[in-house]
Symmetry: C2
Subunit: 375 residues, 2 copies
């Protein structure tokens, strides 16, 4: 009995894997009418920020895990003190919740990342900028960001004033150098409580307005040494932080040929959706196996190339009408719709194409997603 906090598409896709494993999922959902609430029978509708609600629900589970990283560390520590098994544990998860904590820890481990500083006022941002070659610099709220939210690029001290004025006093702000990067990469690693690790290949991800829109697995034309380094970073971080479940490490491949850690997530991740159709074991199944302390499945790709393209909400009120053309044009395309209300820019599904010819695979996936989006 695996409890999942949060009823988005990640919990929904966990359910597909859970059905195969014969493992019941229990959901704590923000609403019954939610992506995962539609497909998980044992759903409690409640507010995870309310400790009594969270705690009462959590005690019915063998293990508690997450669709998102928004549950407060204090709540999770209380659950653990009450005997609930939480995976990842709050002491690991905090590194995916708080960018200040994450940067400090990775620096202490010597893991490569952008230069950074905690800033409190605009003159502090300017002082930091002067140490990294000047503006622009990136400002990030320590907590609460996702899909580009809470991340700002500022071009001067006046810009920093505006951003800092818009953030609550209680939330720390991190300044980071704006890294010149060739592209973004990501590595997913599943880690079991036993310490067993399974690392997926390094993938290339394309972001638009802070949202992951396309992933190619494995990352094309990646220097083999850099691939080993990236996987090594992810496995080391997973082990040092004591992650149980999936760890996603988002990286910059810099223009001068290094990899720098950008973000961490501790749950199934958009950069791993290709694995449902493209790998021997999907990220969703391996997340469940890891939090249940079962032996991990093989993360190896089944095909030369997989390309995943997100479907973002467009003008069409329903995605269903996209099927006839998309499926008739490409009988091999894999479509995943999330059962969510279509709203402009919202992640409402994804498609995956796979095959031997990268250019063709990419064109197939892009065409299918664009058709569903109505563009």
């Amino acid at each position: 009995m695996v409890g999942v906090v949060g009823a988005g598409q990640l919990a929904r896709m966990m359910q597909q894997a859970a059905i195969g494993l014969g493992v019941p999922l229990r959901l704590l959902a923000e609403a019954r009418d939610s992506s995962a609430g539609h497909v998980i029978t044992d759903t409690t509708v409640g507010d995870y920020t309310d400790y009594d609600t969270l705690s009462t629900w959590a005690k019915g589970n063998t293990v508690v895990t997450f669709d998102h990283e928004h549950v407060s560390t204090a709540h999770l520590e209380s659950l653990v003190a009450d005997g609930v098994i939480v995976r990842p544990a709050p002491g690991a998860l905090v590194h995916a919740q708080d960018k200040v904590v994450m940067r400090a820890r990775l620096s202490s481990l010597g893991v490569p990342g952008p230069r950074h500083a905690v800033v409190e006022a605009a003159d502090g941002v300017a002082a930091f900028a002067s140490t990294v070659g000047g503006f622009p610099v990136v400002l990030k709220t320590a907590r609460g960001g996702y899909d580009g939210k809470g991340v700002f690029v500022v071009d001067d001290e006046a810009g920093a004033v505006g951003v800092l004025a818009s953030t609550p006093d209680a939330v720390a702000v991190l300044a980071e150098e704006k890294v010149g990067f060739r592209r973004e990469l990501a590595v997913l690693v599943a880690r079991a409580p036993s310490g067993q690790l399974a690392a997926y290949p390094v993938v290339e991800s394309v972001q638009r307005q802070g949202i992951c829109v396309e992933v190619t697995a494995p990352a094309p034309d990646l220097d083999p040494d850099l691939a080993v380094e990236a996987q090594g970073i992810a496995m080391r971080v997973a082990a040092e932080l004591g992650v149980t479940g999936l760890l996603a490490v988002e990286l910059f491949e810099t223009t001068d040929g290094r990899v720098l850690v950008n973000e961490l997530a501790m749950r199934p991740h958009n950069t791993g959706h290709w694995s449902i159709d493209g790998a021997v074991t999907s990220q969703f199944e391996n997340h469940l196996r890891a939090v249940l302390d079962l032996p991990l499945g093989d993360p190896t790709p089944r095909v030369r190339w997989s390309v995943m393209v997100n479907i973002l909400g467009g003008d069409a009120p329903t995605l269903y009408d996209g099927f006839p053309h998309v499926q008739a044009r490409d009988p091999q395309i894999r479509v995943h719709l999330y059962g969510k209300q279509v709203e402009p820019g919202r992640k409402v599904g994804h498609v995956t194409a796979y095959g031997d010819n990268l250019a063709e695979v990419r064109e197939r996936a892009r065409h299918a997603a664009a058709w569903f989006e109505g563009t």
Copy 2:
């Protein structure tokens, strides 16, 4: 909104495909505590033999389809008269429900099958036996059989007396020659209302006490002409009978090198479970696409060999304890548990292995299933 009558593992595995397609399933279940009832939120518990229950439920669906073939033809015809879309339609489904109707229709189409006759008394069985070279002959109740139930091999007229005495007066009994066969084969075809067909490769199935226990896809060492003939039979039967959804054709490969139709089913079928992991598009997804009149997905195998072995209930009360050894021994094995109470001999799950070396693949699948069974 696809309504499914019956809450067994076939409906459960349909749900995995439906989640991906973003298509809501609605279930008419014999009990909430059922294989599919555990994983489909919109479940009505009710008795499909009660027309009011069936009809009230059915009217909320875009299309109604099946986990099993036990709904009476009369009920289905009434639903259709009431405007419910039923796929497969009752005029097609009756060929999977009534072996007498099926044999008559296939004979009229010239589709090869065992010699057969409807029998009413033991002397009729003896008369039939004398036309096919003598006893033993096979007696089958026209309706209600599955997993070997309703099928009897009788060695003499006295045996026929016993079987006929055990069958209700209302049910017709079919006598068939006992075919000398090399092995059993099966072909699955999905057919959309548009007439589009997608044929899976011919597979070899192994039955034990009337229950399918192992399937190899594709059937090894099959004469290519015979493979074409078998697929041709399945596609022709699907078209002539107007099947919508999946048609499974079970065949004998005779010792003298022919194929004869043994049984028909019109739903996802045990001989197609390999397709979840081994084909581009699973039988469950193609069944849903067919009944929704969406373009069909590619049924091509993704790998050289797939072997599916059923897990039958054994002494262990739970299957979960099988995971640590099975998954540690074989990180590529695909396990599917059905969330059913373990009872001796009951189908409670299956495993699929795939790869390039048939002997290895078969050993992996057999070992995993045997371990779950506790043997």
